[in-house]
Amino acid sequence: MKNVKRIELVVDSHHVDRVVGVLLAAGVNGYTVLRNASGWGDRGDRHPDGITGAFENCLILCACDEAKAEKLGELLAPVLKKYGGVGLVSDARWMMR
């Protein structure tokens, strides 16, 4: 098992492609997306209503090495600032496979 950083992002569903673009630009090896999340934060209540699509959140999970995580922290800050959403970074170990 090797040490990795576990990056967890919650963003507006409309922005997933952008955020994934940033992940790819940083050179990560994979990511996972869970749609249909609701939540609450600085931008108020967000609850997918199925009609407008305007209030759906997504959870993006990405495991990468420390250097990439560092870079992602920099690349994502302005994105989160402009488009809203939050990011968490934690430590994990990558299971051998």
Binding site: H47, G50, A54
Partner: protein, 351 residues
């Protein structure tokens, strides 16, 4: 005004289901139609209205009057956001004013469908109330222009630091040196993406595509799918409006936060814009049916295509404002009071 129009409209199954949805949400019932049921229903409605419109269009002859109506529709969709923007700037910043202007320049397909519904009884006694299939084309043409206008307004009047970040912009480390392409277009608006959102939004594609398919399949094709696309249509609309009621009422919290002047805009802009539609229809010599639909399109506001585009192009704008106004104020106003009101006005003018 002929009050019986209003009362009849309020007794329509679809409107009653909308009311049921509102009531359920207000009483905090746990009733909900989870994703993606509403998506299925709205795709169905767009597909059905598009097909039907296409089939009717095939049977109409497209004279100068029709071309005039279509042109009027596009012009209305492009100028409504401009004046709306400047009015809204009194209360909102550039981004929110632009998003809301785009919202009100564009249209709501379900409001259009409700107006169509409203016309069926009248049309059975007087053919002047039968709208032409080209009105579906008018709707399709009105979806997108306001999006482009809205984004242009947002860019033009944005605080300069937003629109054109300085090279050393401290708040965007790592992007300043990368250029828009690298990180997905955060520097400035990505026009390709914007046009895709405006003209290739799912709702637009289904509507326009179904319209063209309706034109192509001929009567035999239409007969084969009528039991799907026509017979259950009004029933599906009931189910969809039940959900619209739930969703609209659940945004009432945001409404209170937005304040009275925005609500006033959301209510008053509908008849104001509808009047423009009525005037255009009158000048073009349209029938009462076509006039009602043009008025309704002008008076309605988007809550599907525009929000999707605005999230991407004007992310600073708060959908809790523009979606809420459109969905929780203008939409209910139009389907309950607005449509009969516009009809009464048209009847008064036309006769």
């Amino acid at each position: 005004m002929d009050l019986s129009l209003l009362v009849d409209n309020l007794r329509t199954p679809a409107i009653l289901f909308f009311a049921l949805g509102v009531l359920a949400a207000v009483c905090r019932s746990d009733l909900s139609l989870p994703q993606p049921i509403p998506k299925l229903l709205s795709i169905y409605l767009l597909m059905a209205i598009g097909l039907h419109g296409g089939v009717e269009l095939m049977h109409s002859d497209l004279g100068a009057r029709v071309i005039g109506l279509l042109l009027a529709a596009v012009v209305l969709a492009a100028i409504v956001p401009v004046w709306s923007f400047f009015v809204l700037r009194l209360k909102l910043d550039a981004a929110n004013a632009a998003a809301m202007a785009a919202t009100y320049g564009s249209i709501s397909a379900v409001t259009f469908i409700t107006a169509n519904n409203f016309l069926t009884t009248l049309a059975s006694s007087d053919p002047a109330y039968t709208p032409g299939g080209y009105m579906v084309a008018a709707m399709a043409l009105m979806e997108s222009p306001a999006i482009v206008v809205g984004v242009l307004l947002a860019r033009w009047y944005a605080p300069s630091s937003e629109g054109t970040p300085a090279a050393g912009d401290e708040q965007r480390p790592g992007l300043a040196g990368h250029g828009a392409g690298d990180a997905g277009g955060f520097r400035d608006v990505d026009w390709g993406e914007l046009f895709r959102e405006a003209f290739l939004n799912g709702a637009v594609v289904v509507l326009v595509g179904s319209l063209l398919i309706g034109l192509a399949i001929g009567d035999r094709g239409w007969e084969s799918i009528k039991p799907f696309a026509y017979a259950p249509f009004k029933g599906v609309l009931c189910l969809f409006l039940l959900d619209m009621g739930l969703v609209a009422a659940r945004r009432l919290g945001d409404l209170r936060r937005a304040g009275g002047s925005l609500i006033a805009f959301a209510v008053l802009s509908a008849p104001a814009h509808a009047s423009l539609g009525i005037a255009a229809a009158w000048l073009l010599g349209a029938g009462q049916g076509d006039a009602l639909l043009l008025a309704t399109l002008a008076g309605s506001a988007s809550y599907i295509a525009v929000p999707a585009a605005m999230r991407l192009a004007v992310p600073e704008a708060n959908p809790g404002i523009y979606v809420t106004m459109s969905l929780a104020v203008t939409f209910p106003f139009n389907i309950t009071v607005g449509i009969p009101l516009y009809m009464a006005a048209i009847d008064a003018i036309w006769t």
